[in-house]
């Protein structure tokens, strides 16, 4: 490899030039090995932040970061494997619904997920509310569960993408977090380390999302889709709404129950709409259908026939959980106190601030403030009313599930601020705004 010089390389990016693949290898490799110091990398990150990167550079950066650590092979597992990633939202339990759906249609769905911190819940925490459930699989176990059941969801055990850990820690303290190329490469380097055939990205937009405007969400979505396709993975993105919590349930076991309800074809409309769109995109990415318009009937059949629920049962069993929770929700943790928050006056629900609800969920014990906080798996909220619904004075809007009564007055006060009741009937928003494939943005539904 040619011998590059770090100040020269920083200078090139500082002056708005693009870095070659070899130059990116040089600095990522040198940084991970500790031969390039933090202070040179932070200067480079700031130059990248301000000057940007072209799509080819971002794709190279992502792949080089991915190769800085272990990757997880799925070789030996039959069929096509499609991962799914969401940029995070409140009440987002889409993974539990789409994985069984697509598995029932012949596309395998392996996912490596994380725990919750702050206002968004964690997929692993939700699964751990199922008695016995094991999220710690080594790669042989991952392949085994995936082969046997068609899906698999576990935590990160292998030392994947050490470059991202080191770079992210530095970005966090040098004001270089909110950079599209750096955000996109960080997300995708971790996703691509799981060697699937393709990937579907659910990019959330709205008040409760990381990308609040649809414009920002679309820019991120395009960047992610471009990186995936340049890496040779069939990648499709969707922009979906995250203004109010998704579905009616927010909280760990409450969300597992709601997911099972969806698999029984009796889930809330907004959650079903997003789940069917994501599952359709996964079938297209997995080439189980030629076009998104053909996916719907296959998915409906997997749902109606109960095959998707069967997949979910066998998945729980394969990861040491108690599959009887699918039939008897009382086997899941539940809170001793259930208190209704009722409407003070008649009107319509105009807004439910997703971010505030996520934060209140932590307050209720369902999430973490610090990484080692304990979780109350039964705690959370169940919304009887959602945006656009009429409500009578005194009628329950949401039930609070919590372990004790002490915090209830405080939570109610905060709910009053988070839930807007007014006189105008807000039309319910379209949940799925568009989808993005390698050819660009497309309308939804197709």
């Amino acid at each position: 490899m040619p011998n590059y010089n770090m100040p020269e390389l920083i200078k090139r990016k500082r002056d708005g030039k693009s870095l070659s693949r070899e130059e990116i290898v040089f600095w990522i490799d040198g940084y991970v090995k500790g031969v390039i110091p933090d202070y040179q990398v932070s200067a480079l990150l700031m130059a990248i932040f301000i000057r940007g990167m072209e799509p080819r550079e971002v794709a190279d950066l992502t792949q080089i970061m991915m190769h800085s650590g272990e990757t997880i092979s799925l070789a030996g597992v039959d069929g096509v494997k499609i991962d799914k990633h969401s940029t995070g939202g409140v009440g987002d339990k889409v993974s539990f619904i789409v994985a069984p759906l697509v598995a029932a249609c012949g596309v395998k769905a392996p996912m490596i997920s994380g725990r919750g911190l702050g206002h968004t819940g964690g997929t692993l925490d939700k699964l751990e509310s199922i008695p016995g459930f094991n999220v710690s699989l080594d790669s042989a176990e991952m392949r085994d569960v995936l082969q046997k059941t068609g899906m698999m969801i576990c935590g990160q055990t292998a030392d994947i993408v050490p470059a991202d850990k080191k770079i992210y820690a530095l970005r966090d303290i040098t004001a270089t977090v909110e950079s599209l190329p750096l955000i996109a490469s960080s997300i995708m380097s971790k996703k691509l380390a799981l060697l699937t055939d393709g990937l579907v990205l659910d990019v959330k937009t709205g008040k409760g999302a990381f990308m609040q405007t649809e414009e920002d969400a679309l820019a991120l979505c395009r960047a992610l889709v471009d990186i995936g396709n340049r890496a040779g993975r069939k990648t499709i993105g969707l922009i979906t709404g995250m203004d109010q919590p998704l579905g009616r349930a927010v909280g760990n076991s409450l969300e597992i129950i709601e997911s099972i309800q969806c698999l029984k074809n009796s889930g809330p409309a907004d959650l079903m709409e997003v789940s069917l769109a994501v599952a359709s995109a996964m079938l297209v990415a997995g080439e189980a259908v030629a076009h998104i318009s053909e996916a719907r009937s296959k998915i409906e059949d997997a749902l109606q026939s109960g095959r998707a629920l069967s997949v979910f049962r066998s998945f729980i069993e394969a990861q040491d959980g108690d599959p009887r929770v699918c039939d008897d929700y009382s086997l899941l943790p539940c809170s001793s106190v259930r208190e209704d928050f009722s409407a003070a006056s008649e009107g319509f629900i105009e807004a439910i601030d997703a971010r505030s609800i996520g934060e209140l969920c932590v307050e209720a014990g369902a999430g973490r403030r610090k990484i080692d906080d304990a979780i109350d798996y039964g705690a959370g909220f169940y919304f009887h009313k959602k945006v656009g619904d009429p409500v009578a004075a005194g009628e329950s809007v949401v039930t609070i599930h919590i372990a004790g009564k002490e915090k209830i007055p405080f939570i109610k006060e905060r709910l009053r601020a988070a839930i807007t009741i007014g006189q105008s009937r807000v039309p319910s928003a379209t949940m799925v705004r568009c989808f993005v494939d390698r050819d660009g943005k497309r309308p939804w539904p197709v």
Copy 2:
């Protein structure tokens, strides 16, 4: 002081906002104390490099850097004290001429100078070619020499501007050197640490200068003048030419001799032109005259009367040098070998590349490549011909002064490339292009 947060502060500059004085105090202070790490400062420096700083910020940065270490008081020395700084050139011995001139006109001229490294010679090295001369003065000795003789030139002994040392070392390895606000604050923080009443800045432009174009030189000059005046020092700048070496002599003792010749009113025209302009500006800055146009006759008188040369003699004596060198140049070191470089053909001198001559001077032993190289004080070049002069075939253009004959063929070959002889008579360039005071750029002569 309010408690600032370094990532927030970096973010503000990253987004093109300006930093308050208190914010600059926070990071300079924290960095010098070692509580703010290199990697945060390098990210901030890159943001400053790309986003720039407004004049108020640069002035604050400079003053805060200056206050990071010791300052040198001149309290107790009578009269007004005006420093002079040059951005560096080849054959630049202006300090030795202007300090006695203005001292003879009643304005005291104290200067803290450096040694040579690379293609520009060092003021201290030139002075040390005078037998016995001492450049190491403590601040009491500085005041004493200044009070007694009206001038003083010595090296930096006190721990001035530690912030600049630390920041400069970091800039050097993070591609953040060539930034106007950072260059200007680095220069001025060190100059302002000597607590004079004012300052004259000789900003060089041309092939042998740091700022090659007049536009860049003017931008730097304006920044420096603005910083000085905002710090409450009367500051004036000049843009002067540095395409060919200044004067006829390049090399340590050769330049001392030429300076004495100037003080005897028989120096070369270009050097005299620059020296008279700089001295005039110093008299204006020191308020010895109301306007530059009034300075000339005072300076001519100091020169013609021999008072300036007397000041120089007593200055040499006060700093332990042998003042008899002013009358007997053989008391100065001289090289054993003197070899002429002659014109190969008849014509006119079209160009003498100042930078190449500076580099060849190091080759001849008169300068340093590394900081601990020994210097041959007698070595250097004496130009019989300068740009615009006619020359006959075989006529000497320059005499090489050197300790041995070995390097002569190589030096001659390089001189052939550095000195252009052609058929067109290049008009001699105006040495002083303009001056810059707090009201902006002005034409010269006034």
